[in-house]
């Protein structure tokens, strides 16, 4: 049964370069001597270590627990000893270092306890989500959002469509392609678990038509499965982007400031489905993933199952990369991936590709010419923004105007910069504008807080002053009256005067209450109309 498809605006067709890395079968990468596990491999809070330096750990053992709701646990990918907990370079566009747990592997790759959960259909969905959360599973398509959150139908009883993203629209990357070709049954087992958790009515698996083998194999695998269909989508970048793919498959646009679940759709990557299957039916937490190692500087481009924490340099060595030939080393694809500052950074949960390109594959751009307003960027924008206007205002630092042109709807897919005849690094301008706006907002928040504190302090000072003045005034009048009856308190003995004044006030109150009670002949403590 063919699936009806819709279109989104724009998109581009960069050269694919997918064939290079799909000639060899998927296999496990070599076990490295040292695994470096960042505590922050996902969207949300960093995990919290639960091991200490010197501890021995088993494969699959929890080494850092999730902190807060949006977070993910980290497990030991192999057995060994925790040799350090500290800052190491991590995969990040800035080249920064961050907290990592380092495991010296013992070469035995000994598993810890792998729980047997039995038949998942007997498990309550909320319990199932906790299990998926405990397994440290995050979206493996690239964003790394904790998956259990996206397996919660929330206030809905059920969702309409579960979409499995096997589009893989970025050039060079083939890890999902190979996974679909080699492990279709496991992916479908994972889909069934997700459907159970979400109460999803139907499931669509999306595959681009540049992956005919994966499409055929997935079709065969679902032949006897009810409620799952495979959609063959014409290849176009960025079709694999969540909101764009949902539009293609359902014709619905998830709202700009909302989530796909608002329109009854949930989308997961095929790799995530595989990970869910391993976690629920084999008791294995997320400790490895499929990674494409490719690019002109790699002699044997291929896909490998890589343990998290494996240094990128080890992978490149294993695939025969000649880094002398490499122009740049990317994590991710050429459209949205970022250049690595170090080859010692580890593979993490969101690493789908390690790409070592030659200068011919990623030529240095020429100096940008001025924008000629040709609108090629607008025609390519999958969000239907006006990139030329955004650029204009970002360039002029008119950040409020960039927001009226919906800067924050930009998904940074790079289509605009890819087609720009003036070769303006447009995405860089948008990132800059966003960062500036965030900085301004932070500054504003700080200023607001400071102003609030200042106002509060001013108010307190005023109040204290008024109180003091009132007390002083009272004291004065009281001392005048007290002069006649009592000894005058020594001047400047304010506390004493205040105490005396308070005693006076209390006395006066008591007397007033007593006279009132007497005059109305009621017992104190009773309501005024209690006796009648």
């Amino acid at each position: 049964m063919s699936v009806r498809l819709w279109r989104f605006n724009g998109g581009v067709h960069p050269p694919q370069h997918k064939a290079e890395s799909t000639t060899e079968a998927l296999r496990a990468a070599r076990l490295p001597k040292r695994l470096i596990l960042p505590l922050h491999q996902h969207i949300g809070e960093a995990a919290e270590p639960v091991v200490n330096i010197g501890d021995t750990v088993l494969k699959g053992q929890l080494i850092a627990r999730a902190k807060g709701y949006v977070s993910a646990a980290v497990h030991a990918p192999s057995s060994g000893t925790v040799s350090d907990i500290g800052d190491y370079p991590v995969p990040h566009p800035s080249g920064m270092s961050a907290s990592c747990i380092v495991i010296q592997t013992d070469g035995e790759d000994r598993w810890g306890e792998r729980p047997d959960y039995g038949d998942y259909t007997q498990i309550d969905p909320s319990h199932l989500r906790n299990m998926i959360r405990d397994a440290g599973i995050v979206g493996l398509g690239g964003a790394g959002f904790p998956s259990f959150i996206k397996l919660n139908p929330g206030s809905r009883k059920h969702i309409d469509t579960l979409i499995l993203n096997g589009v893989e629209c970025e050039p060079y990357i083939t890890c999902d392609d190979m996974l679909m070709r080699e492990r279709p049954r496991e992916i479908i087992a994972g889909i069934r678990i997700m459907q159970h958790a979400l109460h999803a009515r139907e499931c669509l698996i999306a595959v681009e038509d540049n992956k005919p083998a994966a499409y055929r194999i997935m079709c065969e695998a679902i032949a006897k499965e009810a409620g799952i269909r495979v959609a063959l989508c014409p290849t176009i970048y960025p079709q694999g982007s969540e909101k764009q793919l949902i539009k293609v498959l359902t014709g619905k646009e998830s709202p700009s400031n909302g989530l796909p679940i608002d329109i009854g759709v949930v989308l997961h990557n095929v790799g995530t489905a595989y990970a869910v299957h391993r976690a629920i039916q084999h008791g294995e937490p997320l400790i490895s993933r499929t990674v494409t190692v490719t690019g002109g500087a790699v002699a044997q481009p291929r896909n490998v199952d890589v343990l998290f924490g494996t240094p990128v340099i080890d992978l490149l060595d294993e695939c025969g990369a000649d880094l002398g030939q490499a122009d740049r080393l990317l994590m991710g694809g050429p459209m949205m991936g970022f250049a690595l500052h170090s080859m010692n950074v580890p593979v993490i949960k969101t690493t789908n590709c390690v790409l070592a390109t030659t200068p011919a594959q990623t030529p240095a751009p020429r100096d940008a010419l001025p924008c000629i307003r040709c609108g090629a960027c607008m025609d390519a924008c999958p969000v239907h923004l006006l990139p030329q206007q955004l650029y204009w205002h970002a360039h002029a630092k008119e950040f409020d105007k960039t927001q009226t042109y919906n800067l924050f709807d930009c998904i940074e897919c790079g289509c605009c910069a890819y087609v720009c005849p003036s070769q303006i690094p447009l995405v860089q301008y948008y990132r800059y504008a966003k960062a500036e706006i965030w900085a301004q907002e932070r500054d504003k928040e700080k200023a607001d807080l400071a102003r609030k504190r200042h106002d509060f302090r001013q108010e307190r000072i005023e109040r204290e002053k008024a109180e003091r003045a009132a007390r002083l005034h009272k004291k004065k009048t009281e001392t005048v009256t007290a002069d006649k009856t009592e000894a005058k308190p020594s001047a400047g003995d304010e506390p004493k005067a205040a105490i005396l004044a308070a005693i006076e006030r209390a006395k006066a109150k008591r007397e007033a209450a007593a006279t009132a009670a007497e005059s109305s002949e009621e017992k104190p403590g009773q309501p005024p109309d209690g006796g009648t």
Partner: protein, 345 residues
């Protein structure tokens, strides 16, 4: 090994400003070829002169503005300006006409506003309009199609006229020039002659519109369609401009076909087709949003008809384009497309 760390995207389509401009020039080849075939070699001299002057003016201005020469001289934009400007000149134009027009276009029209990408007005049209206002006689001396010429000029004769102002012996300027079809119709209608009579009674008019002009128009159309197919220009501006022009013409033609020319005549005469595909679509000065391009093109089409029919000039593409250039930023402002995931409002 120190790693090279630029930001994404790391690849580019390879289509640059130079590619765009070269394709525009390539698309003009059929038009230029038809022009030479139908009207003689004068246009070729105009093109070469305009290109030389334009590159010179561009280089001087870049130097004065302290900009690098090579990237801007090779971007092709000034060559396109020069060729479009040359195509709007009469085939018999003295060299100083090209010189003044280009100087105005490049220096004032382009560089005083900030150079490539910053000019609010189409430079070629600014140059043309300046000449039309300042030198109306020289700018309206059109050579007739070769098929109608009583004294067709040889290449050497044309060259001599362009540079020295000499015509071969015993020839006056009137003998080698003739009114354009648009001009002729305008004059005759003002004398209360019926258009059908005017058109059937003059060799100036061919099968579809003006003799020669009709084929020139069709050659521009072919080049323009190729540009749309190559996605160098969008379809919106040409379609809207020609559509609006045809619609205006059709309405008045239906009302009174004795005084108003047919839509086909309007489409195939003067600068309509050159303007629709090559001038109104100048990206820098046109509206850029999809809907905005429709309004912008339609505005030009309507203005062309209005000025041609009731204005003081026989053709009006340049005026119409410049007038709509002023409106382009406002049109863009009010025609932003609905962003993905935003509600229709």
């Amino acid at each position: 090994m120190p790693l090279h760390t630029p930001t994404s995207p790391h690849i580019h389509s390879g289509i640059t400003v130079t590619t765009v401009m070269l394709r525009v020039l390539l698309a003009l080849v059929p038009g230029i070829a038809a022009y030479i075939w139908l009207f003689g070699t004068g246009v070729l001299i105009n093109i070469v002169l305009a290109m030389v002057f334009a590159l010179g003016a561009e280089a001087v201005m870049l130097k004065l503005r302290g900009r690098p020469l090579l990237p801007f001289l090779t971007d092709g934009s000034v060559v396109v300006t020069a060729v479009l400007f040359a195509l709007t000149l009469p085939p018999l134009a003295p060299w100083w006409l090209s010189f003044l027009g280009i100087l105005f276009a490049v220096v004032i029209g382009k560089h005083l506003f900030g150079g490539l990408g910053h000019n609010p007005f189409n430079p070629a049209m600014l140059g043309y309009v300046m000449l039309l206002i300042s030198f109306p006689r020289e700018m309206t001396m059109w050579a007739p199609p070769l098929s109608l010429a009583t004294h067709p000029l040889a290449f050497a004769d044309t060259l001599a006229y362009v540079f020295l102002g000499h015509l071969p012996d015993a020839l006056s300027l009137d003998a080698v020039t003739m009114a354009t079809p648009l001009d002729h119709v305008k004059t005759e209608v003002s004398r209360s002659h019926e258009i059908s009579a005017v058109m059937s009674g003059s060799p100036l008019f061919g099968t579809l519109a003006g003799t020669g002009w009709e084929w020139l128009g069709l050659a521009y159309l072919a080049g323009g369609l190729w540009l749309i197919k190559k996605r160098i220009i969008g379809w919106q501006i040409p379609a809207a401009m020609l559509g609006a022009l045809a619609l205006m013409a059709a309405i008045f033609y239906a009302v009174d076909n004795a005084r108003y020319a047919s839509p086909l005549f309007h489409l195939l005469s003067g600068g309509a087709l050159l303007g629709a595909f090559f001038i109104a679509t100048d990206p820098v000065t046109a509206a850029t949003t999809p809907r905005g391009r429709l309004y912008y093109g339609a505005g030009i089409g309507v203005l062309v008809y209005v000025i041609r029919t009731w204005g003081g000039y026989p053709d009006a593409v340049a005026f119409a384009v410049l007038l709509m250039n002023i409106a382009a930023p406002t049109i863009d402002h009010y025609t932003q497309p609905r962003v993905f995931g935003h509600r229709k409002d």
